[in-house]
Structures are given as structure tokens and as C-alpha cells.
Symmetry: C3
Subunit: 296 residues, 3 copies
């Protein structure tokens, strides 16, 4: 057993522990390697908040996987059936931003996510449970997104808090679903199920949960058979068209920082906390909670 904790990724006999260049295991990720594919299970109880620990682990994982030429494809999953990544821990914005800076030199998870999009690594999100705000922005940064029809829930609800999506959500959603649907999704701060997310282009496809795992595993292994150079070249050419410039990610990141620190933003976050924000139970229906925020 090496420095990675190895998830149960099935009985494929090609599975082996990943040789990690640095010293310690991940606190919030469980990683299994099958050939050129890494299966990365997010496990940050109680609700997979994106805080300093998870960002630190993602930074290390990405750096290690990029340095390992045996790795071509990363599959992200969650060990929590209700939460894939809930959203950032808004009490630790400064701290998680500093962790992101260790890879990119800039204190912004938007730029960290864009770094992943621009990487030679092919990334696939296998989504069960909730992805809201930065959770949505993480899966949007992946190259492909497949979601369980029964359980996946999507939201980009920052405007309900007086803030703007700061980690690429605006950039990706406007390009994937067009002006009208992107505005609806963000201005409404509503929850969207997998079927509607597919119709809107938020994800590649929705499918039954029982078929999802095998579909993604098979796709990942198929891609991993193809030459690394052509995978990277196609990513580069597609990114030149469809991945927003760094400056636009930086601007959104700055706007999120400013709007979340504003008096109105702070007041909204406090009202949300009083209603159970950042607790597992209350966020099962975050859309409902947000609809009540302005009420006395």
C-alpha cells in the first residue's frame, strides 16, 4: 500500500495502487488506478464542501497525475450518494483560494478549474447527488459530464446570495446552453434535475444510475487506448474555440470575491446560515431555502 488510498473500483485485475511522487495520502480523495485511468472518489464528509482540504487534495492529485505519463484519463465520482460537491465553504474563501494558488500562482479556484480544462489529462465527471455553485463549476471544467437520472441535481445559485458565479459557471453555461437558458439557470437559482440538465446542454447525457458506472468506466478505458498526443491535440483545438480566456475567468473570480464580501452578500449568507446553509439536511432542498431568504 502506497501513499494513495485505493478505492474499490471493481475486480479489474489491471487495477493497481498509484505510485505517488510525494509523501502523504489524500484526506478527502480515494484514488484507484486501472491502467491509464484514475478513478477519483471525493469523500469529504459530511457533505463534500469544497474547502481548503479538498482543494489541497485536488491540487496535489492534478499535479501528480500530470507528472505521470502513464495516466491519461481521470474519472471523478463521489462516495456520498446525495452530494457530489455541494459548493465552496464560504467561511474559508481565503484559505481555499490560497491552496489553489499553489498550482496556478493565483488565488482563485476558477483559475484552478481552468487549469484542469486546459490540461492534457482527459477528465470525466460521473455525477450522482448535488452539484451546486462551485460543484457545478467543477464538473463544467471537466471534459465530459454524465449524470444519474435519479439523483443528480444541478444549480448555479450565486445570484440568490447577491453574488455572481466566480469559478467559470458564467463562461461555460453561456457557451453550452446559450443566453436564454444560462440566464434562467443563474437568475432563478433553481435546482435542475439530470434530464433537464441534459436538454439544456449542462451535461453530456443523463442515464439510469445502474448503467452510469459501467458506461463511464468503459468510455474512460476506450479513450485511454488512444494515443496521448492526439487526445491532447484535440483538447487544445477545442479549447481554442470553446474555453474562455484566462482574463474572463479572472474577472469572474474577482467579482465573486467582491460580491460575496459586500454588505448585501454578507447579509444574505448570514440569513442563509440561520436557515441551515452548509448543513447536510437543510441543503437537500437548497432551492427552497433560497426562495425564502428574502422573507422576514
Amino acid at each position: 500500500m502506497d501513499t494513495f488510498s485505493v478505492a474499490d473500483t471493481g475486480d479489474d485485475d489491471r487495477r493497481r495502487p498509484l505510485a505517488a511522487p510525494s509523501g502523504s495520502a489524500f484526506a478527502t480523495l480515494s484514488v484507484g488506478k486501472e491502467g491509464a485511468v484514475l478513478f477519483v472518489d471525493i469523500a469529504a464528509p459530511p457533505m463534500n464542501l469544497l474547502g481548503p482540504e479538498l482543494v489541497r487534495d485536488l491540487v496535489r492529485l492534478i499535479a501528480q497525475a500530470e507528472a505521470d505519463n502513464d495516466v491519461k484519463v481521470l474519472v471523478f465520482r463521489s462516495t456520498d450518494p446525495d452530494y457530489f460537491i455541494s459548493h465552496v465553504d464560504v467561511t474559508k474563501i481565503k484559505e481555499y483560494r490560497e491552496e489553489a494558488a499553489k498550482l496556478t500562482g493565483e488565488a482563485s479556484i476558477g483559475l484552478l478549474f481552468r487549469y484542469l480544462s486546459a490540461s492534457r489529462l482527459v477528465t470525466i465527471s460521473q455525477i450522482e447527488g448535488r452539484v451546486r455553485a462551485a460543484g457545478s463549476e467543477f464538473v463544467l471544467a471537466c471534459d465530459m459530464r454524465f449524470a444519474a437520472r435519479e439523483s443528480a441535481i444541478f444549480a448555479q445559485p450565486e445570484p440568490a446570495f447577491g453574488a455572481v458565479p466566480g469559478a467559470g459557471g458564467i463562461q461555460h453555461l453561456a457557451r453550452l446552453m446559450g443566453r436564454g437558458r444560462a440566464l434562467e439557470v443563474m437568475l432563478s437559482a433553481q435546482d435542475y434535475d439530470a434530464e433537464l440538465a441534459e436538454r439544456y446542454g449542462w451535461i453530456n447525457r443523463a442515464m439510469p444510475a445502474k448503467a452510469l458506472g459501467e458506461f463511464v468506466r468503459s468510455l474512460a478505458h476506450r479513450i485511454a487506448k488512444f494515443p496521448a498526443g492526439s487526445l491532447a491535440a484535440v483538447k487544445d483545438r477545442v479549447n481554442a474555440i470553446a474555453l474562455a480566456p484566462v482574463d474572463d475567468f479572472r474577472r469572474d473570480s474577482d467579482l465573486f470575491g467582491e460580491s460575496s464580501r459586500s454588505p448585501e452578500g454578507q447579509s444574505r449568507f448570514q440569513a442563509a446560515f440561520r436557515r441551515g446553509f452548509q448543513t447536510r439536511d437543510a441543503e437537500m432542498d437548497l432551492a427552497g431555502l433560497l426562495g425564502d431568504l428574502g422573507d422576514p
Copy 2:
């Protein structure tokens, strides 16, 4: 009772007449206010043609709503079950363009519609009946579009008249549905029902007529609860990506003017008038009328 005529917008007790800064009621709009939401019913018999009167009223409505910080969301509806906005009155192009110039300084409804898209106001179209040509372009200028599955009909048929869409249709459709579908829609001059319009991305969603009104009302009030600053900031950032530059709207507007005044354009319009163009009955099947235009 003040200067706005108040539509029956349900029994919500927050509903009250809008305090209008200027002097007279609208000739072609009926406006009701519920909290921060204005419900604007288009009523320009016999078929909701976009002529000088309706443009004048839209200009005044937009100016008044923008000046009233209590107003966040505008919902556009029609009192005519068969026509939302049929298209411009082609006998009064100069006149309605001059009305548009009173808001934007330029004699173009394309630039008026773009002004609305760029406004801080959040706009939603609740579409029952026909939206063709400038009618389609008006709903495309709104931030969101929801349509009744049974009755909504969409067309961008200018090429059948030897003209090009001049009020933003090219700009929006090419971005929302991609090159192939945008070309099909415009070059065919066909009618599209709400279900196909949804699949093509022309609208956000089609839904049963009996569910549409309550869905839109609920969405409008939800958005109106969120801070105005974040709504405007998200619109700005999305518009920077997905709303075409002013110059492109201006160029299309000029092309429409030139093509509609050309001998071929004039001849086509005259042939259409001989077949009932700009009459309520004949335009129930405008697509059929246009298909016969070239015949002897």
C-alpha cells in the same frame, strides 16, 4: 387608478397600479404590477402588428420601468390567443423606426431590442400564439422565453420576401441553435411549433398552456426576490459572451432596410398583400402563403 391600465393578473394582493412618471396610459399595452414584477400584456388589435403605436408604448414602458428601482422583472404576454407579436407593419417602417429612436437615438428596432437585452431589467416572454419576424426577434431579445405547447408558433421568414431579418434574429438564432438549424429556420421561412422550437434552442422550454402562466409568474417572483445588483452583474457577464455587438445589430438593421426597399423586396411584399398579408385570417397560415408567393 393611475396612468397605467391594470390587467387582471390574478388575485395576488401585492398587485397595485404602477406609478407612472409621465402623463398618459398606453394605447397597446396593459400593465399590472405585483411587487417588483410588471406583467405587460400586449393588446394591439387586430393582430398585434408591431407598428408605431406599439413601438412607442414599448419605448415608454422600458424607460419608465428602468427609472423605477422598485421594478426588477418584466413579463410580456399577449391578450390575443393567436398572435403574440405578428411582425412589423411593413407599411410603416419609417414611422416605427422613428419611435424606436426616441430611446436609443437610432432609428432601428434591432437596436431598441438590443437595448432591452442589455438593460438591468430581467425580461421573460410568456408566448401563446404567433411570433414571426420582428415578433420572434422581440422574444429573442428577452432574457428568457417560455411557450405554450398548443398554440405558440415561431418563424423568421424574411428571406421569403427577399429580405434579411433585421432586428437581431440572425444574431440570436445563429448563437442559440448553431449554423445548420439557424440556416434552416431562416432560409425555409417555415412555421415551427413550440416543441421543435425548444429542441432547437429557440426558446427555453415548451409547456402545456394551462401550466405556463403559473410557471412564469412563480419564476418572475422568485427572481424578483434576489438582489438587483447580482441580477444585473450576471446579465452583464452573460451579455459580454452571448449578446452580439451593436455594430452587428446595426448592420442587420441596415440590410433589412435596403432589402425591403429593393425592387424584388417590394414586389414580394405586394404579392403577399394580394394574398392577405397583414390580415389576421390569412396569416394564420403565413407559411403556406409564403410558399405560394413565387407561383403565378
Copy 3:
């Protein structure tokens, strides 16, 4: 009978042979003219490979049709129920590129296809059977694409060979279906049926094979009734938004050349030939063949 061979295009009595300006019939195309519509049937047995002969014929067809002001619309079909255009003949890249240069001055089918997209001619693909790689890129270059639900199959599988799509596939797919789906389609090198191709925006619409022919014929004749000037003007304005610049097509074309000539590309093509690549039977399941390429 003139220099065009005339396909059986139904019993429309407006059908007549096309007056061809140059001397010889086509070797791989069968062309019928009905009014302002040319029906072009691709017939290059055994599997409609895009080699020097088919490129030469397409070049001549396009040049002749553009020179004939009576022609407004081109409909492309296949006489082979299993293959529309399979892909390029990879043993004759230099030769077919030289044929393309006769129209555009540049040895690239990507630039030939872009020339067709930018032409005043309105082009419609009626797809039955397989369109893979350059076959997909040809139909993407057309203005509209309609496909038979039962038989049409789509793939953009160049990365499986260590190559990148070189004739516009990257440019069109990234814009039509967005970053996530475009990456999935190309990196997976999978086959996609017409229904999924429609959901992803690869084609305008999938429909039953028995309805397809009449739908396309009717659409083509409808468009052909409208003034040529407005058809061309709308194409120009849409292309200004949604057709990638020449430089991007040129860059992809160069990358395909380089990657297909590389040692890894050559080794992959040879492995594919050993498994039946470029034979009619083996390519019925090309996706399966490609998935096995890396195996010993």
C-alpha cells in the same frame, strides 16, 4: 442526354438534365435537376471513400453549379444504403488534396468544404448510412443535415489513429454541440446514431427513412422559390458568426497532415488495415475495430 448522368429523382415533371458547361460526365456522382434544385447522388463503390475521383467530381460539380444562376439548392444523397461518405482514402491523401486545390488554390479538403459553406449555393445533406471522419466533415459543411433514424451513423474518430480531424470537424462540432459533447465525440471515436446526433446538435433532425426523402425534397423546393439575393445574404451573415475563419481550417488541415504522417499515426493506420480498415464489411463496425486497435 447531356454530360450529367441523371438519377431517378421521382416523377416530378419539372425534372430535366443539367446543362453542363464542361465536357464529361461524373465518375462518382449522379446528378438530377428539378427546377433550381440539383439532386446529387454519391456513387463511388464499394463504400463511397473520399478519394481523388470523388473530390475531383465534387470540385467540378460545385464550380458548375455556382456558374449556373438557375441553380439555387444542392441536395446530397447516397446510392449506397450503408455508406454516405465513409471517410478519406488514407492511401491517397496527396492525390485528393491536389484535386481540391483546383478549386481553392490550396491542397486541403477542409478548405474545399469551407468554400462550399461560404458559397451562395444552399446545401442540404440527406443522410442514410455512415458518415465518419471526412464524411462527417462534409455533411457539417453543408448548410443543413437531415438523417434517417434507422441507418445513419456518425463518427469523428481521428484521435483513435493518433490524428486530429482535419477538414473542419473540430470547428463545427465545438460550435454546434459545445465543449463537452464535442470532446466526447472526438476523444471516444465512437459511432453515434441519428437520434443521439440530433440531441447533440450534430444534425438538424433525425426522422424515419420513409419520410426523409420527401421532407428534404419539399424543403429544397421551398427554399428554391425564394430570392437568391436574400438566401445569399442570410448565409453571409450567419457565416460571419458561425463559420470558423479560414486560418483555423488551414491549421486543422495541417495538423491532420502532420499527425497522419507521424510514426504513431502510420503505425495505427497499418494496424487498422490489418483489421480490415477501408473494406466495406469491416467498417460496418468501425467503432469496434478502433476499440481493439491498441490490443496485441
